[in-house]
Symmetry: C2
Subunit: 558 residues, 2 copies
C-alpha cells in the first residue's frame, strides 16, 4: 500500500474561506480579523461579548508516555473533533502553535496526521499570525529596558550579576546560550553575562497562555521578576515600567487564531508554552472562548499524561476555572509493544504478549487520571499494521481496569474512522459524571505539592531535595508565593526521572535539582533533570534543503 | 487656533475595507491577502499576471536637507497622491515601512501628517504585516547556521575572527552592539566576538527592497558575503546553504502591503532599508507593481535630495530600470529660515531675508536634480504660520532659477489644498519631458563614482581616502564588483560631511573613512562619517508611557 504524505493530503484539502469556518461558531466576518484567506484571529470585542454564555463540555486528550513509535495525540485530538462534528455535534478543537526555529533544525510537522490534520500546514510551521514574533518583541523590549536602566544610572540598584531576565529568539542558536553583553566601551553599557532562550521558553509565552484577558496579561507581566538587588530583593518588570508597552505589543497576539481541519471544522491554534519549564497547553483565552462558542471543545496537553495532563489539570484548569468532562488517553499498539520491550525495528511483527506487558504504562495513566475525578476513556489510535489480536489485548486490559478502550481509524479514514470514539466521548461528557478537582489544594506547602505529584502520579518512593532548595521554597512561601501550583519539569519518557525506564516503574526517587519562581505566570518550576532552553542545530540542518520550487511550493520543510 | 493631533485625525478617519481600496487599482479580493480589515498584501500571482501592462508615470518626492523645523516630505507625498486622485487621476503612493524598535525609545510617528496621512497608523508603528519580523528571522537563521557550521567542524574554513555577518533585532538595544558569543564550554561552540544591528540595517532588508521577484531575491541572498577565510577569500551565504530557507521565510514579506490614505486612496507601504548604509527607498516590487496598476505613482526617497534622491536615482532606478517623469522637491518657509540662520525658537517671526538666504540650499538641490535629466518642481509645504511674503520669496527664488514653486496646503486641507500642485505635477509628467539617466555609468571605476557624487552633488573640492581604501576598491574591481553603484553614507543635514554646515557650502573635502561591500544588495557602501547600526534607548524611553487605556486604545505611542 502506498500512503500519501501529510503534506500531500494537506495540499489537496478542500479548504474553505475562514469566514465560513467562523460562521460555524457564530462568528460574523466583522468579528474575524483575517490573516490571509484561511487564518483569522477572533476579535477581542467579540470575545468580550460572549462572556455571559454557557460553557460547552471540555474534553482533554492526553497520552501514554511518548515512545519513538509515535502515539498520535494531536492526530487523535483532530480526529475526535472531526468525529464529533460528523455525528452532528457542534465541536471545536484547541491546540498549540508550533515554534518557528526548530523547523530549521529537524523537519517541521503537521498538526495531526493522515486524514486528521489542521491546515494550512505551511503557515502554521512558519510565521502563522505573528504571535511568537510579538512575544519575542515584548520579551526583548523588557531586556533592552533593563540594560538601559542600568546604563542610565541604575536607580533600582539592580545587581548586574543577578539579572535573571534573558533575551529570546525563535531560532535554534546555541551560540547565544551564553554571551557577554555590553562590550565595546563606555557607550555600550556595563559588560555582564547574559544569554538567549528560544521564544517558547519565555515567561511571556506562559503568561500569554494563562492570562484571562488583557488586564490580567498586563498584571502578570508586571509581576515577573527580572533581577535581584545585592540584598536579594526582587526587581519586577513593573519597576522597569515595561508592562504597558509589552501589553501593547501583545494585544493582537492575545486574540486566538482560528483555522480549520481537513474536514472544514473549526480549530483554534493559539499559544505554545514549553511543556517542561511551563505548563505546555494552548492558551486559556482560546479554550475559554471555544467553550462559549461550541458545545464540545477537544484540547490536548503536552507529552504524556504524567507530565502534560497533570499540569493541564493542576495548573491550567485550576487557574482558569476549567473543568473537563472527560479525559481521552491515546495509546497505540506499537507504543504498547515498545513499552513491552520490543525494539523499534521489530514493531511490524505481531506480538500480543508484548502489547499486554506494555499496557502497564497505559493502566497507570488511566488510574492517575481517574484520581482527578474525571471519567477516562482510552482511544486506540489505529495503525494499518496493527493486528486484531493486538488491538483486542489493549481493549481487554483496559476493560479489566474497569474502563473502556475504543479503536479509532481517523488517520486512515478521517471522521468516518473516529465516529465511534466521538459517540462514546459525547455520551460520557453528556452524562455529567465528572467531578473534577486538582489533586492538591492551593494552601498546601510547596514541597508537599511536589511530593503529592511525585508520589501519587509518578509513584516515586520519595522526593529528594537539598536543604538549599527547601529553604528557597520556604522563602517564597514567606514572600506570599506559597499558594502557587508547582510546574514539574522532568523527562517525558518515563514516570520516573530516568528516560530509559518504560512501562510502570516503581522503587525510584525523584531528585529536585533546582526550583525557579515564575511570578508572572504564577507557578513554581520544579526541575528534576536537565532543561535545555535553547536548542542547537544538527550537523546538517533541515534548512539546507528548504526552498521554494518552480511552482512556488515549499520543499524540504516537511 | 487649536489643531488636532495626527493620531486624533487618523482615528477619526472614515476608513474603508481594504478590498475597496484594492478595487480602485483593479485588484480583486482573491488577489489581496488580508491582514485585518484595513491592510492587505498583493498576491505574488497577481503581480506576475500584470507584468505585461504598460507602466504609469513615476513621480519622486524629495526634499532639501532636513532641519529641526521639519519639511514634511512624506506629508507632501501623501498630499500629492490624494491631490492627483482628487483631480481625477488614478494615482497610488509608495512609501517605506517604519521600524518597530525605535518607537519604544522616541515616540512613533504618522506616515504623513495633518490631513495628509496614511492609516492605520497604530499598526504601521507596531507589527504591521510582519515583514520586519520575517527579515529578522531570515537574517538570524543565517547567523545561527554560520555558527552551527563552525561548531560541526568548519569545513568551509571560516576564520572565526572574520565573520562579518552579525545578528539583528528590531529593538534599540545598545547592550547587544558588541558581545562575546558561544561561551559556556564545549557544547555551546567556539567563543568569538559578535554583535547585533537593528533589523532595518540588515543587508536582507536592502535586498528585499531591491529584488525584482523571488528568484532574484534568492540569488541576491546567496551572493551575500558572510565571512572570510584566513586567506581573505569570501564565504557566501550560498556556501552555508541558507538562501533557500531564507527565501521561504521571506516569501510573504516580498508581497507589497496595501493600505489607504485618509481620503481612501491606495498606498503601498513596503520595505524600510536604512537610508545611510543602504539606499533608503521603499521596495522595487511595490514601486513596479504600483506602476502597473496606477497611471501615476508618487514615491519618496530618504533624507535630503543629496543623499536620498541621489541613491534613489543612481541605485534604485538604475537597478530596477525605473525612470521618473518628474521630481518634486519639498521645501518649507521654516526650513528655509533655518538654512538662513534663524534659530528654531524664532521661526514664528516673519523674516523674508532669512528665507531668501536659506534658498541657496533649495537651489542647489534643484540644480542637482536637473542634472539627472528629469524636470523638477518645488512644493512649498505650507505651515499655518507662513506669511505671504515669505512664501513669495521662495517662489521668486525658484522662478529666477528657471523652475517653478507651488504652495500646497494638504496638511491643513487634504487634497483640496494640494490640487494645484497635483495639476502641475501631472502636466509635467504627461509632457514626457524627462530624459533620465544616472549621473555615472556602471563601467566607471568605483572611486571615480564616489568623486562624481561628491563633486557634482555635494560640490566638494576633493574626496580624501587612504591608500588602504583605494586598494580595497581596486580589489573589489578585480573580483568583479567594479560595475556596482556606490551607496553613500554621510550626514543628511548638510551637503558636506559636517552636519552644522547648512545652506549651500563650498570649499570642503569629503573624507572616506571606510568602504563595505554589500554583494547581495549590489552596492559598495562608502562611509563618510559615523554610522550607528544599533541605536540605544534614551534615559526615559517612550516605552515607559505606552499602554492600552480603558477603551483599548493605545496611549503614549504617538
Amino acid at each position: 500500500m502506498v500512503f500519501k504524505t501529510d503534506i500531500q493530503i494537506a495540499r489537496e484539502a478542500d479548504k474553505k474561506p475562514i469566514q465560513e469556518i467562523g460562521a460555524k461558531l457564530g462568528i460574523s466576518s466583522e468579528n474575524l480579523v483575517p490573516y490571509g484567506h484561511d487564518k483569522a484571529k477572533v476579535s477581542q470585542s467579540f470575545i468580550n461579548s460572549v462572556q455571559d454564555r454557557k460553557d460547552g463540555k471540555l474534553i482533554l486528550v492526553t497520552a501514554i508516555n511518548p515512545t519513538p513509535a509515535g502515539e498520535g495525540k494531536t492526530t487523535t485530538t483532530v480526529g475526535l473533533g472531526d468525529g464529533l462534528n460528523r455525528i452532528g455535534k457542534n465541536a471545536a478543537i484547541c491546540i498549540r502553535e508550533a515554534s518557528l526555529g526548530p523547523n530549521f533544525g529537524m523537519k517541521g510537522g503537521a498538526a495531526g496526521g493522515g486524514y486528521a490534520q489542521i491546515i494550512p500546514m505551511e503557515d502554521m510551521n512558519l510565521h502563522f499570525t505573528g504571535d511568537f514574533h510579538a512575544i519575542t518583541s515584548a520579551h526583548n523590549l523588557l531586556s533592552a529596558m533593563i540594560d538601559n536602566h542600568i546604563y542610565w544610572g541604575n536607580d533600582l540598584e539592580i545587581d548586574t550579576r543577578r539579572v535573571v531576565w534573558r533575551r529570546v529568539v525563535d531560532m535554534n542558536d546555541r551560540a547565544l546560550r551564553q554571551i557577554t553583553a555590553s562590550l565595546g566601551g563606555v557607550s555600550n553599557g556595563f559588560p555582564r553575562e547574559a544569554g538567549f532562550d528560544i521564544t517558547v521558553a519565555s515567561e511571556v509565552m506562559a503568561i500569554l497562555c494563562l492570562a484571562k484577558n488583557l488586564e490580567d496579561l498586563q498584571e502578570r507581566l508586571g509581576a515577573m521578576i527580572v533581577a535581584y538587588r545585592r540584598d536579594r530583593t526582587p526587581v519586577y518588570c513593573r519597576d522597569i515600567k515595561a508592562d504597558g508597552a509589552m501589553t501593547v505589543l501583545l494585544k493582537d497576539a492575545m486574540q486566538p487564531n482560528l483555522v480549520q481541519t481537513l474536514e472544514n471544522n473549526p480549530a483554534f491554534v493559539h499559544g505554545g508554552p514549553f511543556a517542561n519549564i511551563a505548563h505546555g497547553c494552548n492558551s486559556v483565552i482560546a479554550t475559554t472562548t471555544a467553550l462559549k462558542l461550541a458545545d464540545y471543545v477537544v484540547t490536548e496537553a503536552g507529552f504524556g499524561a504524567d507530565l502534560g495532563a497533570e499540569k493541564f489539570l493542576n495548573i491550567k484548569c485550576r487557574k482558569a476555572g476549567l473543568s473537563p468532562s472527560v479525559v481521552v488517553v491515546v495509546a497505540t499498539v506499537r507504543a504498547m509493544k515498545m513499552n513491552g520491550g520490543v525494539a523499534k525495528a521489530d514493531l511490524g511483527v505481531e506480538d500480543v504478549q508484548a502489547v499486554q506487558n506494555g499496557c502497564a504504562n497505559l493502566g497507570r495513566h488511566v488510574e492517575n487520571l481517574k484520581s482527578f475525578g474525571v471519567p477516562v476513556i482510552v482511544a486506540i489510535n489505529h495503525f494499518v499494521t496493527d493486528t486484531e489480536a493486538e488491538v483486542q489485548a489493549i481493549k481487554d486490559y483496559v476493560a479489566a481496569q474497569g474502563a473502556e478502550a475504543i479503536l479509532s481509524r481517523h488517520w486512515e479514514l478521517g471522521s468516518e474512522g473516529s465516529a465511534d470514539l466521538a459517540t462514546r466521548v459525547a455520551e460520557i461528557a453528556d452524562s455529567d459524571e465528572a467531578n473534577f478537582a486538582p489533586i492538591y489544594p492551593d494552601a498546601m506547602p510547596l514541597f508537599e505539592k511536589v511530593k503529592v505529584v511525585a508520589q501519587k502520579i509518578y509513584r516515586a518512593d520519595a522526593v529528594l531535595a537539598d536543604q538549599k532548595i527547601l529553604n528557597q521554597l520556604k522563602d517564597w512561601e514567606d514572600q506570599g508565593y506559597g499558594h502557587l501550583p508547582v510546574c514539574m519539569a522532568k523527562t517525558q519518557y518515563s514516570f520516573s526521572t530516568d528516560p530509559e525506564l518504560r512501562g510502570a516503574p516503581t522503587g525510584f526517587n525523584v531528585p529536585v535539582r533546582e526550583v525557579r519562581l515564575s511570578a508572572g505566570a504564577g507557578f513554581i518550576v520544579v526541575i528534576c533533570g536537565e532543561i535545555m532552553t535553547m536548542p542547537g542545530l544538527p550537523r546538517v540542518p533541515s534548512a539546507e534543503n528548504i526552498k521554494l520550487n518552480a511552482d512556488g511550493d515549499i520543499e524540504g520543510l516537511f
